[in-house]
């Protein structure tokens, strides 16, 4: 089940939308909320469609348009989207009006646009795509489920091209609630301090990343996606290691074959302990880079990581912003993305050079 990334689109807290180059310089964010660097959406979306779209829908559509344009595929055979939180802004608007107006005089648009399938549906509508359309909404498994669905569709000969991606947004409501839950490190200063030892807590992120996947190999492709696996609530780090070894061996690889691990470390010391144990035990000599200082922590951050890994494979370089200012040029074969969220949702995505 190997698929190739032919085009990408990424709206993130870094300068990524519109393909300005691969993380040439990092955007510094102060505080605990990393907001996306957004494009002028009028260059992406018909004004008649844009007027009802909340920010997350526009982010998703722009990322999808970039991925399609780059790949030269006008209409994919299928569209599969992942989103953990869905359209929070419209949900918040409808919910707060409902409470404040005591269920009277409510307008429909925020409700219609609040459903979790809105982004995937808007992309289908814009493209006139009658094909397979699915939406996964399972926390930090959302993007991984979407990816697995895409890989199965191709394996089943039901699609040759699949547009797959993930979207999540931060809103004032969601940030204030997650802050109260205690996820964030309030005195972090800027995002570049995320991995400092004294930090215990993470920073909030958001983003929309889409990929046009094809079953057609070509040297023009970014990378091959060879596998994806999720595992839920491992009781020990050893159990996580067993899953990782098993996943690698099912792809005829061992840990030694992994040229680079893209790790989901996030500033939370309890969560980092799991990464540290796995890295020490399985990947002692491997090159490891973190990515969440660039995009923040959110359930579908692995879509950003996939974009990072695909670009490293395509360009043969790890940009300085990913590796303490040191740009590394290497011939990479295999990159493993290892992420977990709260030590409950673990995921593995394996990419290889074309």
């Amino acid at each position: 089940m190997t698929l190739y990334i032919k085009g990408t689109g990424n709206v993130s807290p870094q300068k990524t939308v519109g393909h300005p180059g691969f993380l040439a310089d990092g955007v510094t964010h102060m505080g605990t909320r990393l907001a996306c660097v957004e494009p002028d959406y009028k260059t992406y979306i018909d004004p008649k469609l844009i007027r009802r779209m909340s920010r997350i829908i526009k982010m998703g559509v722009a990322a999808a348009v970039d991925a399609l344009k780059e790949s030269g595929v006008a209409v994919p055979d299928a569209i599969v989207t992942g989103t953990a939180y869905g359209c929070l802004e419209d949900t918040g608007i409808f919910l707060s009006r409902m409470v404040e107006q005591q269920e009277a005089l409510l307008a429909p648009t925020a409700f219609i646009q609040s459903t979790h399938n809105t982004v995937g549906a808007q992309i289908a509508l814009m493209l006139g795509c009658n094909g397979y359309n699915n939406v996964f909404v399972h926390r930090a498994f959302s993007f991984e489920s979407a990816l697995l669905d895409a890989m199965m569709l191709v394996a089943e000969n039901d699609a040759n091209t699949v547009l797959v991606g993930a979207v999540d947004e931060i809103t004032n409501y969601s940030h204030s609630i997650l802050e109260r839950i205690g996820l964030y490190h309030k005195d972090i200063g800027s995002n570049v301090n995320l991995y400092e030892e004294k930090i215990n807590g993470t920073i909030a992120g958001e983003g929309a990343a889409f990929f046009l996947l094809t079953n057609e190999p070509s040297t023009e492709n970014y990378a091959a996606i060879r596998g994806v696996r999720t595992f839920y609530k491992p009781t020990t780090s050893q159990e996580a290691e067993t899953h990782i070894r098993d996943f690698l061996s099912s792809n005829n690889l061992t840990a030694a074959n992994i040229d680079l691990v893209v790790s989901g470390r996030n500033g939370n010391s309890a969560e980092n302990q799991v990464y540290d144990e796995v890295h020490t035990s399985l990947f002692p000599g491997n090159l490891i880079v973190n990515f969440k200082h660039l995009c923040g922590e959110y359930p579908t951050a692995t879509a950003f990581a996939t974009w990072v890994a695909a670009n490293i494979l395509k360009n043969g370089v790890i940009p300085g912003v990913l590796n303490n200012g040191v740009e590394t040029t290497l011939t990479f074969r295999n990159i493993l993305i290892y992420n977990h969220s709260h030590n409950t949702h673990h995921s593995l995505i394996l990419l290889s050079a074309c």
Binding site: R52, I79, A84, Y85, G86, F94, L95, S96, M98, V99, E100, Q102, E103, A104, L106, A107, P108, F111, I112, Q113, S114, T115, H116, N117, T118, G120, A121, Q122, A124, L125, L127, G128, C129, N130, G131, Y132, N133, N134, V135, F136, V137, H138, R139, F141, S142, S145, L148, D149, M152, A155, E156, Y173, S176, I177, R180, I181, T230, Y232, K233
Partner: protein, 399 residues
């Protein structure tokens, strides 16, 4: 990749019953589940009938043996998924690769609504434990943990077609040899959010809904959960009682016409039904019964009817919308109607479409208005179409 996937168990809870047996009995009595709101606390109480599950949150928690109630969406899910898994009685289940694929559209919104009343007044207020299960996936996990399933879990949300897609995805996980057993379906609880949302669309009938009636005025919202247990061919041979049917066909298509309205010729519905028939290697004439999406809105019923006409004319199978019993249970509807499709085969029964008085003028067929027993039911087509153009059809075939 084309190996059969068998239905080994079913579980259901809705306004017409708390388990599968109560559903069969309600169908036999032709007794609908709508009524005045008694559990949901809304200003629309008395004006908008709903189809509530007849168990309060404390009753659900007690029946499930929970220390305290959690989101109603999750408790309905636990009740029906547990019934489905128990009824499958799979020997050596803990040695098999088991998944739980659930669908919902509201997540823990029933509790988030409570949280927001305090939170909006003062952002430092509102009990956090009312909001931690807001996400759709969190609801699935409460049920997965309750069932003890952890090999593979995921959640799908594609509006009204959500749980048809979770059954479809579950079957593919088996066909791709990723899992051996999947509990698949969906759940949704009634919430003020969805009630008010649908009310702004002016598609809620103030009386009991009349799907496929010329004078239909809209839908009634319902709640519930429905799950099937899908197993591989190998697991099917290990079961004590042979499964009554397979999931033989499925297809997902997008109408790509409008965010809420269906296209006049029912493009998405047509493609979903046609694709499911192709997958099952069947012709329209093979279908014994169509469990219609049949919400009772002007737009849905004519689009669905037109698509059926395009595909089936001039020979029409039996048809009915069981939403005339359960109301529209949104993310649960595809799961519940999958259970009803299996029941149609198992009980050799065609369920009636209640309150249909005046057939639709523009359609050459009329759904069944009376219960038909001792029917020959070999292949059942179940339709689930939704907002965002997401259309899915499933086909269940007698073994």
């Amino acid at each position: 990749m084309s190996a059969p996937v068998f239905i080994a168990g079913i579980g259901a809870v809705s306004a017409i019953g708390n388990n599968v047996a109560e559903h069969v009995a309600a169908f036999e009595r032709s007794e609908a589940g709508m009524g005045a709101m008694s559990l949901l606390n809304s200003v629309h109480s008395g004006q908008l009938p709903v189809a509530e599950v007849k168990l309060s949150n404390p009753q659900l928690a007690q029946q499930l043996g929970l220390k305290a109630a959690v989101s109603r969406t999750a408790m309905l899910s636990m009740l029906a998924a547990k019934e489905a898994l128990d009824s499958a009685a799979i020997p050596g289940l803990n040695k098999l690769r088991t998944g739980f694929i659930s669908a919902n559209t509201v997540g823990g919104m029933d509790r988030t609504e409570l949280f927001f009343e305090s939170f909006l007044a003062d952002p430092s207020r509102g009990r956090l434990k009312d909001v931690i299960h807001h996400e759709c996936g969190a609801v699935t996990e409460l049920a997965a943990d309750f069932l003890g399933v952890k090999d593979y879990i995921s959640t799908i949300s594609t509006a009204c077609s959500s749980s048809a897609n979770s059954i479809f995805f579950g079957a593919r996980l088996i066909r791709n040899n990723i899992l051996d057993v999947v509990i698949a379906g969906g759940t949704d609880a009634l919430t003020k959010f969805t009630l008010n949302g649908f009310n702004t669309l002016m598609i809620l009938d103030q009386e009991f809904c009349k799907p496929f009636d010329e004078n239909r005025r809209g839908l009634n919202l319902g709640e519930g959960a429905g799950y099937v247990v899908l197993v591989s061919e190998l697991v099917a041979t290990m079961l004590e009682s042979a499964p009554v049917c397979t999931l033989s066909g499925y297809c997902n298509a997008n109408d790509a016409y409008h965010q809420t309205a269906s296209s006049p010729d029912g493009t998405g519905s047509f493609l979903a039904m046609e694709g499911a028939l192709q997958r099952a290697n069947l012709t329209p004439a093979d279908i014994s019964y169509i469990n219609l999406h049949g919400t009772g809105t002007q737009n849905n019923d004519i689009a669905e009817g037109t698509a059926i006409k395009r595909l089936f004319d001039p020979l029409y199978p039996h048809m009915s919308s069981t939403k005339s019993f359960t109301g529209h249970t949104l993310g649960a509807s595809g799961g519940l109607e999958a259970v009803f499709s299996v029941l149609a085969i198992r009980e050799r029964t065609i369920f009636p479409n209640l309150r249909l008085q005046t057939p639709m003028q523009d359609l050459p067929f009329v759904p069944e208005t009376m219960l038909i027993k001792n029917a020959s039911v070999n292949h059942v087509l179940s339709n689930s179409f939704g907002f965002g153009g997401n259309c899915s059809s499933l086909i269940f075939s007698k073994t």
